[in-house]
Amino acid sequence: MSSDSARHLGAGDQAAAEGAAPAGNRQPSPFAGLGEKFDSSLARGVSNITRRALGPYQTAIVRIGFAFVWLAFMLREFPHRHVLYGPDSPWGHDLAVRLLNDNHAFTVLFWSDDRAFFELVYLLGIAVCVALLLGWRTRLMTVLFMITVLSLQNRSVFMGDGGDNVVHLMALYLVLSRCSQVWSLDARRARRAAERGVPATRDPAGVLLWALCGLVLALAQLTGFATTLALFDEHGPILSFWEFPGLGWGGIFWGLWLIYGGWWAVRRFAPGEPRLVGEMIANIIHNAGLLVIMVQVCIIYSAAGWYKIQGSRWQDGTAVHYPLNLDYFTPWPDLTEQLGNVGMLVMVLTYGTVFVQVAFPFALLNRKAKNILLFLMIGEHIGIALLLGLPFFSLAMIAMDSVFLPTVFLVWLGRQAGSPVRRLLGRRGAEPGTAPAAGAAPAKGVTGAEAPVPPQAAPAAAQQGEPRIPAQASAEDGKGSGSGGEPDDRRPAWADRG
């Protein structure tokens, strides 16, 4: 626990917390040992964010939630797709292009107003949602999800509402995350490969897909079809914000393409140290993304709450009455008009909404308070969905909130949802991967005995050396908690109190 060991990244890992405050310490100063404490918690923090991708269930539910929202939305709007985002939109391509040239938002629909191209993009968008929902080739699908969401929304930016805004942001953030650790076909494939002892890099479909993406991107750029990604125009190289040709979205896509290819190559040819470092970098990025998602939720609720406090209607307790009487938000006018005239109810909802929204970020400090507020908020969103006719907005908000759902609950939910599905497919029930079970890293501290995976379920897999498999993580955990409860506090509270 000497600062010596703490100086090594993570070497002071476990030593940390205890060592700093020896029992016999008589010193009254509350600051005693603070330096060491700081060192050790820094080391622990670094260890936390590099060793694992936190919140496997939370990121998975966010992935599933947003894929579902956008899928449902695209299917619902399928008959209206041409008027919303396509060639028949009153926000015509001519208007859209003028705005896009000004604000530089990214959309592939900028490149062409062709009907067939639009259909392709829309159908691709639907397919991508399905794949993302199922967790098939998730790292690619998060990128395609981002591309299709941005393409549609930025094509007709004045069609959206708050729900679209949330989907837009999350589509960007999800690219950073390893959101297929559980509840995904990817996890299942990895598990099976490990069971059979096949290296995960033996993946012809993946390689093919990767090559195909490169080909499509190259063709789009070289043929000049992807005008906003073009490297050159008639005047020579197109210089973008850092005065390099192709930086910007083209650079981002090629960068991601290289990273994915490189990651495969590293695992294939350098499975030792370079792979470990790659894993850790991926974890760091994932954890940063997770933090961004969480803070984004807080920003949303804080802003919504704090601006409300300043409004006279939220102060006099009548605010909720008004939306219930707006023609654009009242699918059931008879009902909502009645509700809007029940004084106490309106008052309670008005003040309650403000309380909950303002309190939310602070409630995260306490697990119980957080869960109660989550419950209230999700309830309110369901109410908004039904009464104000905003189902997609509300679903998006719920999908976003679910990043804070407790792991215990998610594991339970997964089991509930999983068993009928497995029965339907006639799968063996005790598959270690009952995805929910595996990788329950965060759960174990909370559930103790209820730790979802039998510790013995996975050691076999653990030896296989393919670290992305949740089953394996859980094996480690099982052991960890078995051997004297490796502490919960190895993970930051914001992640696993989840």
Binding site: R52, E77, V83, P90, N165, A288, I299, A319, W332, G389
Partner: protein, 254 residues
Amino acid sequence: MQPPEEPRGQDDGAEPAASGRDGAVSLADESPETVRFSALSPVSRLVIAVGVGLATVLTSWHLAAAFLFVAPENTVTGEYGQTIRDYIYPELEQNWKLFAPNPLQQNVDVEVRAEYRTPDGKLETTEWINLSGIDYEHIRHNLAPSHTAQNMLRRAWDFFDNSHTDGRPNGMRGELSGAYVHRIALLRLSELMDVDTVERLQLRSAIRRVDAPQWSEENIDTSASYNELDWWTVRDNDRPSGALAPDKPAEDEQ
């Protein structure tokens, strides 16, 4: 108290693979959860440290920018507002003043009348047609109203309103919004009449305040106040293109 433990790699020492000899040989079997940082080469540790540092800086910057973008005008945004906006726009734009500071307290109906040429060459003008009313019809008793009904006209009118001052367009956005709302009107009209005969359009908004709740003593005038725009001469590309989706059954509103 718990004795200081070695990192988990050794803790799990029952397994041969995890027992972490410091050679690179065993690293292939290590997972990032168990490997000791000290078993990694200095270069690797440097890479990880730089990764942590970069992630910290970028995450902090992103979150600070998002927060400041959402926050009201303040000392910091006064100084660095442009930098923040350059970062946020266009993809990270966000607005969370949901029903705030006050919820909208008025119903804004957009109405249109069209001047069209009859087969015998005379110019005639339609009655005022409530376009928002068509939207309401589609929203009523619908569990999942379409964006075409709930957002298109409503947000287009907001856009128009916000990019005009005293009926004059503000720059390009003003122009775009003018074309946009009139095209929406023509699209809606195309379900009611032959828009090829329409030569000019006039839009107006009818604003009705929502009455105060029953228990309130406020006296609110709920009658409509109208605001007419100038007549708009229809250009060819304003008319809906040939294959416009006839999704919605034509509904005669008035």
